[in-house]
């Protein structure tokens, strides 16, 4: 498809794609923010939730944080490579990021299987509802990010649309930041 002239203009000095990504992130902040604010006020109001939170697996959570931080690193290195015009290198690094996302989701899956086996399902009580909703919404973002990353990597491999490496990177870092807050909220505070 031919890009319209509109897409190629940049009155603000920020490329259109990146400007749009910032707006996406702003609207994501209020979605996650609303959910987490609701969680926090319940959490403070219900001291017994600390007991429920004790059943979460801090080690798995910490490992996942490490995985996401590392995948963010490869995403930003991919951006650096893309700016240098090295599409194939950027693609390799992006696939590494996808691998990080996959590990994250696998660990998540194992964790959830274990917890559901113990009876901590979505319906057990308010804490677990928020736990699965917040982490699940975040997981969906990881999954969506992985799919988009694969498309961007395929383009980057052929040195096409290299500016998208930066855009998906910004999104991925945002997903990382959400997890940085979910981790203490759901795992550490007990």
């Amino acid at each position: 498809m031919q890009k319209p002239i509109a897409t190629l203009r940049s009155a603000t000095g920020i490329p259109t794609g990146r400007l749009a990504i910032w707006w996406v992130i702003a609207s994501e902040i209020v979605i996650f923010g609303g959910l987490l604010a609701s969680y926090i006020m319940h959490r403070i109001g219900h001291p017994e939730w600390g007991g429920y939170a004790a059943h979460t697996n801090t080690v798995a959570g910490a490992f996942n944080t490490l995985v996401l931080l590392s995948s963010s690193l490869s995403a930003v290195l991919a951006h650096q490579a893309a700016e240098g015009g090295d599409g194939p290198k950027a693609a390799r690094l992006l696939r590494l990021t996808v691998l990080g996302g996959a590990i994250f989701l696998c660990v998540k899956g194992l964790e959830w299987t274990h917890e559901i086996r113990e009876g901590f399902t979505l319906t057990a009580n308010g804490f677990w509802t928020f736990y699965y909703t917040a982490a699940g919404l975040h997981g969906l973002h990881v999954l969506a990010g992985m799919i988009i990353l694969l498309f961007v990597a395929a383009d980057a491999q052929r040195n096409r649309e290299l500016q998208r490496v930066e855009l998906i990177g910004i999104y991925w870092h945002f997903v990382d930041i959400v997890w940085i807050f979910l981790f203490p909220l759901l795992y550490i505070a007990k």
Binding site: M1, I5, A6, T7, L19, G34, T133, L137
Partner: protein
């Protein structure tokens, strides 16, 4: 400022590429990425939904006037059906009529044309957002055909009523309603990102921030308000859906949940939502009254700043919908103050419009009549809001017909009068033909008189203590007085007259579409850029991409023979 002409040098419209779009009907009209076609899709979907919403209003108003009677064209309205009609009338009129017509249809149509570019920045995202919107409308309509019928827990959907099928008796309807609304939010989030990015980045050379037509500004501010306020409700809707389908307990007080959380999340979005639809209508009216009074918009910057101020303050007022709904009474004092503060920028906007009229040369064309009708009716809606925003008097007025009359005096001007102003004004550009002025005026008077006769009696009913969402007042002796029943009958008769006159509009719209007089490029002698494109504009909009040399409201400028001065004419 950079020389606009030289900046244009590398922007040659891809005429060949745009021409390639002239293909089959499906591809041209249903799968197009052209912003104008998408705007038409939104407009026609919105008009169709308005017919459904109007039919619902007919159903329940007839029941109120003649309780238990057989309603011609509907049948007997049972209590359950009454609430179903009321709930979906509200939902449809706000989310599937006001939003798509005012923001999506006019936003899509006007933004690229008015800022002088060929399309939205993300045409395919634009198409996707319409398709999601259409899907949400279909889901809502489908909810009428599932077992137990559509949702009947009011458009505010307070849990536990909405959360538990044992209470609302519509297990399918409630979930489909919620899914439809949430999907609609996603569609408008995508659309909003597109609008805001387009206006920020794709303006024609010379189109500085203070030269953007007011309606574009208003749609952008509205989109930002929507994006910033809807997030918590999206999260809340997911939780409510879990409560409905998986029986979690987030809003269930018996198991540690809190129903008030939903009320807060809903109104944190719900109040800015009022301004989301108000501001685009205000913008349309600003365009119309300046053109037809041949006068510069009074204090462009002031009105822009008041719009922004309104948007900001609208985030601080949400709990005035909940004064007596169980919130801590001390909070009500704070929200009374903020609510009364928001009346100041809105009042100022009205003053600006009045000041624009003063000293003009006013031509009473159909679009102008609608623009003036908006000011007249919205004033009534605006001043009655003060009664509801003051905590003390809201104790009495909360959830009475006074509230109903108040917000219909704001939403009717916004969703219908504002839209009619826009449609009649831009019809020549949209379809290349003129609408019939005589029929247009008949339609205007046939709408503006009945609408007052519907809602002025309802103010009285509200003062007399009539409460909302009651299918028959015969069970409440104080409300069953004949005097009050006469008010209800008056309102119902006026509604039927109103609906009948909409047929005039539909007739005028459809015949003008095919047989109207051919329109010139600039029939109203207006300044903004869309009137420099052909009528209707081709795919790609402009033969030569325009540059901008002045603000949009240079009417009757001294020292010129013409009383208008298009934005793209070099000095």
């Amino acid at each position: 400022m950079a020389e606009p002409a030289s900046a244009l040098a590398h922007e040659k419209p891809h005429a060949a590429a745009h021409a390639a779009h002239d293909e089959g009907f499906v591809k041209k009209y249903l799968l197009s990425t052209d912003h104008k076609i998408i705007a038409m899709q939104y407009l026609f979907t919105g008009m169709l939904m308005a017919l459904i919403g109007g039919y619902f209003a007919y159903g329940f108003r007839m029941q109120l006037a003649f309780p238990g009677a057989h309603v011609p064209g509907y049948g007997v309205v049972s209590p359950a059906q009454y609430l179903m009609l009321v709930t979906n009338h509200g939902t449809i009129m706000i989310f599937w009529v006001a939003m798509p017509v005012l923001i999506a249809a006019f936003g899509n149509y006007l933004i690229p044309l008015m800022i002088g570019c060929d399309d939205m920045v993300f045409p395919r995202l634009n198409r996707l957002s319409y398709q999601l919107f259409l899907l949400s409308a279909l889901i809502l309509i489908a909810s009428f055909f599932v077992p137990n019928g559509a949702f009947s827990g009011a458009w505010t959907a307070y849990p536990p009523l909405s959360a538990n099928a044992a209470y609302n008796l519509t297990p399918w309807g409630a979930s489909l309603w919620l899914i439809a609304v949430a999907l609609e939010f996603v569609a408008f989030l995508l659309g909003g990102i597109n609008f805001v990015t387009t206006v920020m980045n794709s303006r024609a050379p010379g189109m500085t921030a203070m030269r953007i037509p007011m309606v574009v500004w208003m749609i952008v501010i509205a989109s930002i308000l929507f994006m910033a306020s809807v997030g918590p409700l999206v999260a809340g809707a997911v939780l409510l859906l879990f409560d409905q389908l998986l029986h979690t307990h987030i809003y269930d007080p018996a198991h540690g949940g809190d129903p008030l959380l939903w009320q807060h999340l809903f109104w944190f979005f719900g109040h800015p939502e009022v301004y989301v639809v108000l501001l685009p209508a205000m913008g349309i009216v600003a365009e119309v009254i300046t053109v037809f009074s041949r006068k510069k918009l009074f204090a462009y910057k002031t009105i822009l700043y008041t719009a922004i101020a309104t948007g900001v303050i609208s985030f601080f007022v949400w709990a005035h919908h909940q004064f007596v709904a169980g919130i801590d009474p001390r909070m009500a004092n704070i929200f009374t103050v903020t609510t009364l503060i928001i009346s100041v920028p809105i009042a100022e906007m009205i003053f600006v419009y009045l000041a624009t009229l003063v000293g003009g040369s006013i031509r009473f064309t159909t679009p102008m009549l609608w623009g003036l009708g908006f000011i007249f009716a919205f004033l009534i809606g605006g001043v009655t809001g003060i009664f509801l925003g003051s905590s003390g008097s809201d104790i009495y007025f909360h959830d009475t017909y006074f509230v109903v009359a108040h917000f219909h005096y704001t939403f009717f001007p916004i969703a219908f009068i504002g839209s009619f102003a826009g449609i009649t004004y831009w019809f020549p550009k949209m379809f290349g033909r003129m609408m019939n002025e005589t029929l247009g005026k008949i339609h205007f008077w046939g709408t503006i008189i009945p609408v007052n006769l519907i809602f002025l009696p309802l103010f009285m009913a509200g003062l007399a203590g009539d409460h909302r969402r009651i299918y028959s007042y015969m069970n409440f002796p104080d409300s069953a007085r004949p005097m009050l029943q006469n008010l209800r009958i008056t309102a119902t008769v006026a509604l039927i007259v109103l609906l009948a006159f909409q047929l005039v509009f539909l007739y005028n719209f459809i015949t003008s579409l095919f047989r109207g007089r051919k329109a010139d490029v600039n029939p109203w002698r207006a300044n903004t850029l869309e009137w420099t494109a052909a009528s209707p504009p081709p795919h790609g909009n402009f033969v030569e991409m325009p540059a901008v040399y002045r603000g949009p409201y240079e009417y009757s400028a001294p020292g010129r023979d013409d009383d208008f001065w298009p934005q793209n004419i070099p000095a």
